[in-house]
């Protein structure tokens, strides 16, 4: 039995009644005119749902006349936090408060499941979406960068500090290293997201004074993604860690989503060839 909710001008059904291919298709159609469309296929949608704990029974598809899907909103949930993602309505269906209906349904689902906080990101420049979130009492928290690094860039400067000792992190130790994190990552790069994305590798660095830091990342076949860092000790240590990563994967493209704009690692990343693609504004709503 499908749980159907009456929206302002359409009906909402849980996203769980659709398969990954259908969800990807709906999502892609809502983004055809988006500032930076990032289309997905069924495999990527499945991975996204699994890695980011998307609760499909708390996520919704909005149907218009004729029961055609015209919008989508997804809710991820971890303990008392939720995040709204993949929210969009087909261009021809906008202005009918369908986005608001999706927001209402996901907020209610989050509160019903005991969440105390809902977060989301809006791409800088997407004013209609930002106005929707402000109207729903979301407030700005910080700016996040989506960054890329083409292969074989920024590695011309050799390592210079021989007092730094770099060692690979053993697979068995990755989880415990991640457990030592003190930063405040976006849900995309939380430790549980990394662990669920799999294929993790990492390096630890120690200097002569005994100070230590580390980097852990997802090493996919073609792309490095999902970077997590230990405490920022110095530019030199951060640079050496990142240099080591990219020297180990010279042919890999790199994409990191939601790097906090105030991360001390960001200037170091830029020195190694990372470039900002676009900015997202993180917004939160407390219950």
């Amino acid at each position: 039995m499908i749980d159907v909710q009456t929206a302002s001008d359409g009906v909402l059904v849980p996203a769980s009644v659709y398969d990954y291919a259908a969800l990807a298709e709906i999502y892609n159609e809502t983004r055809v005119d988006y500032i930076v469309p990032m289309p997905m296929n069924a495999a990527r949608m499945k991975e996204y749902i699994e890695v980011y704990d998307i609760a499909l029974d708390a996520s919704f598809v909005v149907l218009a006349e004729g029961r055609q899907p015209v919008g989508l909103g997804m809710l991820g949930i971890r303990a008392e936090r939720a995040w709204i993602t993949r929210l969009g309505v087909l261009p021809m269906q906008r202005g009918r408060r369908l986005g608001q209906a999706l927001m209402d349904a996901m907020r209610e689902a989050a509160w019903t499941r005991g969440c105390r906080l809902i977060q989301l990101e809006v791409i800088a420049g997407n004013d209609p979406a930002r106005h929707l979130f402000i109207a729903n009492r979301f407030v700005d928290r910080r700016d996040l960068f989506v960054v890329r690094r083409p292969p074989r860039t920024g590695l011309t400067t050799p390592l210079s500090d021989l007092n730094l000792h770099i060692t690979p992190i053993a697979q068995d130790n990755v989880a415990s290293v991640l457990a030592s994190r003190t930063d405040c990552p976006s849900w995309i790069d939380e430790s549980i997201s990394l662990l669920q994305s799999g294929k993790l590798r990492g390096y630890e660095a120690a200097n002569a004074d005994g100070q230590r830091s580390w980097v852990v990342y997802h090493a996919g076949t073609l792309q490095l993604t999902h970077f997590a860092f230990g405490a920022f000790i110095s530019d030199k240590m951060a640079r050496t860690l990142l240099f080591t990563v990219h020297a180990a994967h010279p042919a890999s493209d790199t994409k990191i989503e939601n790097v906090p704009a105030n991360s001390p690692y960001w200037p170091v990343m830029q020195s190694l060839g990372y470039i900002p693609t676009f900015t997202r504004q993180e917004m939160v709503l407390n219950r």
Binding site: N28, V36, M38, P39, M40, P150, R152, Q223, I275
Partner: protein, 124 residues
């Protein structure tokens, strides 16, 4: 006539581009995702690749990086074909080794000439 590979997941955009380029006398092969697109280019190196940056599997930047790193394809012209904001598209395309950018939506009167502008001279 040039052999053009178009890697574009949006069917409407692909059909429009195909029609214009074929009318201008070119041969066009369209692939709808990055993996198939790269594999096709590898097996059948064309004269130029028109590459959508936002693709549903491997994105366009990664496809460009793969092409640029392949010794047999290093000099193959790649033109980013994208609706991204122009400045951002230009920076990303250059960083990934593309020869240029053609922005969507296309100008149907100029599109064929724009593409031809990136072809090696011997093709014209």
């Amino acid at each position: 006539m040039a052999r053009i590979v178009l890697i574009e997941d949006n069917a409407l955009n692909a059909r429009l581009a195909e029609r214009i380029l074929m009318r201008a006398g070119h041969e066009v092969e369209t692939l709808t995702n990055g993996e198939q697109g790269y594999a096709y280019v590898l097996d059948n190196p064309p004269d130029i690749v028109l590459l959508d940056l936002g693709l549903p599997d491997i994105d366009g930047q990664t496809v460009a990086a793969l092409i640029r790193q392949h010794p047999d394809l290093y000099h193959l012209p790649i033109v980013a074909f994208t609706a991204w904001p122009e400045a951002m598209a230009a920076e990303i395309a250059e960083a990934y080794g593309c020869n240029g950018v053609i922005n969507k939506p296309i100008d149907t009167r100029r599109f064929a000439q724009q593409v031809e502008g990136y072809l090696p001279l011997v093709q014209l």
